[in-house]
Symmetry: C2
Subunit: 302 residues, 2 copies
């Protein structure tokens, strides 16, 4: 079976401290959140690496959610570990530790069935690794890139080269400003489009998200106002996974479909942050997803 | 003729410095912006005071825009003057001078035709003056209050008493936080509702506005992304005037009407900031208003 959509990113065992509590060695990482979010729309192929200590039941949970694991490398040693602590208002995060472990020597390898995929999500990892995935693709997929301030600061040249291979870039407002020097979202998006991606999403946290199209189109997606936030980790990864999963299932990237994809990304993100680590994205019912989508609609319609 | 809607607030001659230029003694003040914005929906009655130096052609401009001036006091002396300077990004404003002049001894007096009005906008002025207007009303109007950080700091008790007489409070996010101590918009709105007004609008500048209803309803209105900003002065006043003008014309305050009213307020605000002082609100064509309303719709629909 050829994979329609593949996701490369990190898999991690996270230790997270937040006002609502603490979890230790909980399954996280950008590819985990993104592939779980995408799994409600399509069968995503997961490209990444874990150590021999990665819990078997977590692999089962991935499979049960409909994720293909033939691109997941299992390497003797310890899984990537990350620890972080949130501020009381959840608006700031401090990294407590980072242990790369098996991730240090990770080199993504795409199974043959992945090389023709039409939708590729390069979730948040080192840009050189994102390039390596694209280098193995034989077709002309729709390429979505997520990144973070760390790579803007430490791997800017590689990231800029990557942007020239990108169709849709997803960044938050701080990253957009770092990359362009522009305070205004509109001006930042225009500059980002000149750097490569025809489509740009700027996420604004509690203020929703903006989507910029190639012909000057703009879509402003709302955020939910009374959403319960337990653990913001993975919100952006879930957004990217949900957004591209929806596009892959619709087999379209026209602007009307992209608008709805941004809302579906927001829906998946809203589930991710309700529970610790990635558990908020496990075994969701279609009716729960549909109700949440309707909430986004009812808050913004006039 | 009985006035359906009246507006009390300040009339001023403003000196404004912004990156786009400078104007001197341009007609401004909260009642000016609000009544011009409202005039596209209804015939608002303007309650305020100016000095004998207030330009006759400006009164003509008000009348030409369909504003009733029988509640406007003209007092021997100089009109209230205000000077301000905006930062290069327009995100900060410094007050250069304030000369109260005839405003110092202002005591609003409602003509008989105003005392039965059904929609009362207490635009931004000292809360004691806002009380004085309500004290002269004989009916049971729908009361909208706008205010600012100055009155929260210097006249909080009067403002709190006023909130108990208020149906709809319009504040920006900073004012909402000052009044409630809550960072989250949802929590702030709930607290404000407990202070009196069943309906609360929290304006978020470039992120749009949120409307909170009495039964837990929420509406999130978008902002335009590529709007040209020449002079932000009066944006909030125009919002309030446009919003209540629309409600007065629709003769309804149900939630669906309130949603559209928030967007019409945003439309009027978007015109106000395109030109210096209140000139952006003069002699607008219906087709321009309709097109702008459609822009808000097209940016947010999915």
């Amino acid at each position: 079976m050829n994979m329609d959509m593949i996701i490369v990113g990190s898999l991690a065992l996270d230790t997270i401290e937040a006002p609502a509590g603490r979890v230790e060695n909980a399954v996280g990482g950008s590819a985990t959140y993104a592939s779980l979010a995408a799994s409600y729309f399509t069968t995503p192929g997961l490209v990444g690496v874990v150590g021999s200590d990665f819990p078997e039941e977590q692999k089962q949970a991935f499979r049960k959610n409909g994720i293909d694991l033939s691109g997941l490398q299992i390497v003797e040693g310890k899984t990537f570990r990350w620890g972080g602590r949130y501020s009381p208002q959840l608006d700031q995060r401090e990294t407590l530790f980072t242990e790369l472990n098996v991730f240090e020597s990770f080199s993504p390898e795409l199974p043959e069935a992945y090389q023709n995929s039409k939708y590729v999500l390069l979730a948040n990892i080192q840009p050189d690794l994102q390039h390596q995935v694209l280098d193995q693709i034989t077709g002309e997929p729709f390429v979505v890139v997520d990144t973070m301030n760390l790579w803007i600061n430490t791997a800017l040249e590689s990231l800029k080269r990557l942007l020239r291979r990108t169709h849709l870039l997803i960044v938050n407002d701080e990253e957009a400003q770092m990359l362009t020097g522009e305070m205004s979202h509109g001006a930042a998006a225009r500059k980002l489009q000149h750097m490569g991606p025809k489509l740009v999403v700027i996420k604004k946290g509690q203020h929703g998200a903006l989507l910029f199209g190639s012909k000057g189109e703009v879509f402003s997606a709302p955020a939910l106002v009374f959403s319960r936030v337990t653990d913001p980790t993975g919100a952006g990864d879930a957004f990217a996974g949900g957004m591209l999963g929806y596009l892959a299932n619709e087999q379209s990237t026209d602007f009307a479909t992209l608008r709805r994809a941004v809302v579906w990304g927001s829906v998946m993100s809203s589930f991710a942050i309700q529970k610790f680590s990635a558990t908020g994205l496990l075994q969701l019912k279609q009716s729960a997803l549909d109700n949440r989508y309707h909430e986004f609609k009812s808050i913004s319609i006039f």
